[in-house]
């Protein structure tokens, strides 16, 4: 019988009611009396010397309050980068200044140059058209390999070139890897592009700044995945506002997928301008602005070599990747192609020698940072593609080749610096073969062939590092922050509970799943427990939600705080029942004395804590509220095996995804319904990357794909029903819930199997054999490859 509440129950989401009735409170729904509107005049060229800005005519337009330019922000800090990479020679990465408004130079299409503040949005927009920019267009650098040439135009004149860093990992492995490849029986080499994507949460970014002169309090309402991180970055590094004078609120947020982690110029602008003008200032991004100002994702160009011995054992992996940083370093950009990518290059396999080289490059494009999976999809894609390619070259079954090389003993220390605590890759592969009905594939292929179509089946495995992250470790790796999280469990006098959590829910359903954990621990109904999140003035602290960390890190903090509450409550219960504390048991919301029929209800104890008439005041304080900070001991390592089945029309190159199956190991699961939903959404984004989505710049740096007319988002007709399973569970060994995280798996695990399936379909036909096609696998690319 499935449970109907607590851990393991598919509790229906309580937040749904407000979203289904139009009662959500998203940032754009916030309107403050007296607010002004800002419109950003953005660059329409990729690279230019900005000689001057003439705002005179615009300032005279109706409703205009003030026009800000780069000169107004000269004394203001640079938008900071949160991660410092040390390159293979021991030198720090190159780190350019990132201004709030462009000053002296324009470095990408979409960069904000002027900010027009007016009484209405339309007035601000109209006035922006009257601004005259004086600039000289410079040659743009778009292609990464061109950008690192000695004579390439420089994105930042003050830097030595466009190379941000040249990172080797693990540098000491290099010699052994080179030797192993030289002596290998077979080496498969694959050059590929991991296409640039735009995260595209359906809610565009919004920021509303407020300032109260009477107490010098700044408030920023913003579409953020991590309000405390924004408070720290913007307060300390950009505007110089101490934490106690800066409140950051992220209310209902309409999806994030990574791109709402980062601190953006628009947030700093509205906070700055609200004080300068002593009125609230609001900015709402249009979708077109989102395409040219939200940090993009992926954009790697990679060469990977997989070396095998005569028995088809993997002996070495060597990669060289060019990773696009865009024009500036976004908040976590440098960490994505390095620590979130290089550390995962072992995948699910016991390859003894691995070396990863990453060259991060500045170009005249929008900054690139974490997008769902962040580095791990790039690692998974190249590894799982090259394995499939090797299987084809060697004439062996791709599933058997993977199985033969699986890591089977845990803990397992990889040659790329991480230690997998637990997993069972054979179990997820077995499960996949069952749920994807491999046995019926040949019959389905024959049916397709009878219709003149080709059918292909592709598989891949994945591993990811989630639960980000152990602070001491990431500190050594260049993180400029700790990556713990915090929670306060506040028990009210009548026994209901408010839990203030540092994680932020923007679709993940924390308001439902977190109370399931507390309900299980204490034995009171879920509806007696509420979650408070997204407001720095209400929660103790928090590093936010990304890297599939909410439950593994913040959930662990919540469990620790709840344990403290229970321990204190047991002391009170012992006093009330005149028993020894060691004999007190808590079950189903009642404290009892072991071996007796004495008991008191949860509510009697909580009431005693707040009305301490009969209470051990000498020994413990009144009240029942505890806070815990939790810093994880290790990453968590979700893993799984995915299969995609496609039907391909050889006449047109059109690919239809017929079946998609996912067998995941997420460790323990709190709410299976929510977990399945996370996987579904991730798979759709993976199908999008593999088949539809591509962010395209022309050679001059114009963004060609800046609307939903040009950037192909997956729609309902592009995807099938998915078959997902998460019954293979090897619980995480080092956090109290045994959970691993499930938010990114679908997006990490799905692109390779789709590409593998299309190649399987093509190569099953009588026509030309094709070794690789770069994503997205549009009909034109597929058809062209087949000719």
């Amino acid at each position: 019988m499935p449970k109907d509440s607590g851990i393991g129950a598919s509790s229906k989401r309580r937040e749904d009611v407000r979203f289904l009735t139009g009662s959500g409170n998203y940032t754009d729904d916030i309107n403050i009396y007296g607010q002004l509107y800002v419109h950003f005049l953005r660059a329409d060229v990729a690279h230019a010397k900005l000689n001057g800005v003439d705002t005179k005519d615009a300032e005279a337009m109706p409703g205009v309050v003030r026009i800000f330019t780069g000169a107004d922000f000269e004394a203001v800090g640079s938008i900071p980068c949160g991660w410092l990479i040390t390159d293979r020679h021991g030198d720090p990465m190159q780190e350019p200044r990132h201004p709030v408004l462009a000053h002296g130079k324009i470095r990408h299409v979409g960069e904000p140059i002027c900010a027009v503040v007016a009484e209405t949005r339309e007035q601000a927009r109209d006035a922006a058209e009257a601004i005259v920019l004086d600039y000289e267009t410079l040659p743009a650098v778009i292609n990464m390999k061109d950008a690192v040439k000695a004579d390439a135009p420089k994105v930042h004149d003050e830097l030595t070139g466009n190379l941000c860093y040249d990172w080797g990992f693990v540098e000491d492995n290099k010699g052994a890897v080179d030797e192993a490849i030289k002596g290998a029986a077979h080496v498969t080499t694959l050059e590929l592009v991991n296409n640039r994507l735009v995260a595209n949460p359906m809610e565009p970014r919004v920021a509303v700044g407020e300032y109260n002169r009477s107490d010098d309090m700044h408030t920023l309402h913003t579409t953020s995945q991590n309000p405390h991180v924004i408070r720290l970055l913007m307060g300390a590094f950009v505007l110089g506002i101490p934490e106690h004078k800066l409140r950051v609120v992220a209310p209902d947020v309409g999806g994030g997928f990574g791109t709402k982690i980062f601190h953006y110029q628009e947030e700093a602008f509205v906070t700055f301008a609200a004080k300068a003008l002593n009125r609230p200032v609001k900015w709402t991004s249009t979708r077109s602005e989102a395409f040219m100002s939200d940090a993009h994702g992926r954009d790697h160009v990679t060469k990977i070599e997989l070396a095998l011995d005569a028995e088809n054992n993997f002996v070495a992996v060597r990669t060289e990747t060019y990773a696009n940083m865009g024009a500036y370093l976004s908040t976590f950009a440098p960490s994505v192609p390095t620590w979130l990518h290089g550390t995962l290059m072992a995948g699910n396999y016991k390859t003894p020698h691995i070396y990863v080289n990453v060259k991060a490059v500045f170009t005249n494009t929008v900054p690139v940072d974490a997008y769902r999976g962040a580095g791990r999809p790039e690692a998974t894609f190249q590894l799982e593609r090259v394995i499939d390619m090797a299987a084809r070259e060697l004439g062996v079954d791709p599933v058997a080749l993977r199985r033969q090389n699986f890591i089977t003993e845990f803990p397992y220390a990889t040659p790329v610096a991480v230690e997998y605590d637990t997993g069972d890759y054979t179990a997820t592969m077995d499960k996949l073969i069952d749920i994807a009905d491999f046995a019926g594939f040949e019959a389905r292929r024959k049916e397709s062939e009878a219709k003149g179509k080709l059918r292909g089946l592709g598989v891949n495995c994945y591993i990811e590092a989630c639960g980000i992250a152990p602070s001491n470790l990431v500190g050594q790796l260049g993180a400029r922050a700790g990556l713990y999280d915090a929670a306060t469990v506040r028990v009210n006098a009548t026994g209901s509970i408010s839990v203030m959590v540092g994680a932020h829910s923007h679709g993940q359903g924390h308001e439902t799943s977190f109370p399931q954990v507390i309900s299980e621990m204490i034995g009171i109904p879920e509806d007696q427990i509420d979650i408070v999140h997204g407001d720095t003035s209400k929660i103790p602290f928090g590093m936010g939600t990304y890297g599939s960390r909410s439950l593994a890190v913040c959930g662990s903090a919540m469990v620790r705080a709840a344990e403290k509450v229970i321990n204190k409550a047991k002391k009170i219960a012992a006093h009330l029942m005149e028993a020894s504390e060691g004999d007190i048991e808590l079950k189903d919301g009642r404290f009892s004395v072991a071996g007796t029929d004495k008991s008191v209800a949860w509510g009697d104890v909580t009431l005693a804590a707040y009305v301490p008439h009969n209470y051990p005041l000498k020994d413990i304080e009144p009240g029942l509220e505890e806070t815990a900070f939790y810093d994880p001991a290790n990453f968590t390592y979700p893993s799984g095996a995915y299969a995609c089945e496609v039907e391909l029309d050889p006449e047109t190159g059109h690919v239809k995804v017929e079946r998609f199956s996912a067998a995941d190991d997420f460790g323990n699961i709190i709410n299976p319904m929510i977990v399945s939903g996370q996987v579904h959404g991730g798979i759709a984004q993976g199908i999008g990357q593999a088949m539809l989505e591509g962010c395209v710049y022309d050679a001059d740096g114009q963004l060609i794909s800046a609307s939903y007319m040009d950037y192909a988002m997956p729609r309902a007709e592009d995807v099938p029903f998915y078959t997902v399973d998460h019954s293979c569970q090897t619980p995480c060994t080092h956090n109290p819930l045994g959970v691993k995280g499930c938010g990114e798996a679908g997006a990490i695990g799905s692109p390779p199997s789709l590409v593998n399936a299309v190649l399987d379909a093509i190569n099953s036909g009588a026509g030309k054999k094709v070794a690789h096609i770069d994503m997205p696998l549009t009909p034109s690319r597929v058809w062209a490859a087949m000719q």
Partner: protein, 160 residues
């Protein structure tokens, strides 16, 4: 100019510019913020409402064009006592939403579909949603919820 219309059964009026979009009138003048704006090219469908019983993207219509019309938005879908409609309830039962931003448009689109086609096939549901983008759910549970709201059995593939 002055516009007058009935929104969720209530007569309303307001002063708008010629260029004011229906969605901006609903959101900014009437403070009916359940209707969302997700793009500026009439592609995403987050702003879907019904105008005189027809499914319309309210970012694609001027407020002035809706003068005299009957407009239905997400705020008017549940019963006055808060009871969810069968479509809204199916979305909750089947986890047909995550961040909730596209949800009002999805519910309005689904209501329009089921009014015209009470027992749609899976393919018909997916086709009808072509103008509504969701980035969270991968559509699986949205399609499932709409099929369930129509009172039909789930295909085996949609079991999970």
């Amino acid at each position: 100019m002055k516009v007058t219309m009935k929104v969720n059964g209530r007569a309303v009026s307001g002063e708008v510019e010629g260029r004011t979009l229906l969605v901006d009138f609903l959101r900014n003048d009437l403070r009916l913020t359940g209707t969302h704006v997700g793009c500026d090219t009439s592609q995403c469908g987050a702003c879907t409402v019904h105008v005189d019983g027809k499914q319309v993207k309210s970012c694609t219509m001027f407020a002035a064009e809706a003068d005299g019309a009957e407009v239905a938005t997400i705020e008017g879908v549940a019963a006055p006592d808060g009871t969810l409609s069968s479509i809204q309830q199916a979305f909750q039962d089947h986890h047909g939403l995550q961040c909730g931003f596209c949800t009002p448009g999805m519910v309005m689109a689904a209501a329009s579909l089921l009014k015209d086609n009470p027992k749609p096939t899976e393919a018909e549901v997916r086709h009808h949603l072509d103008g509504n983008i969701c980035r969270c759910t991968g559509y699986h549970n949205i399609v499932k919820a709409i099929m369930a709201a129509s009172g039909q059995e789930m295909p085996a593939m949609a079991a999970e």
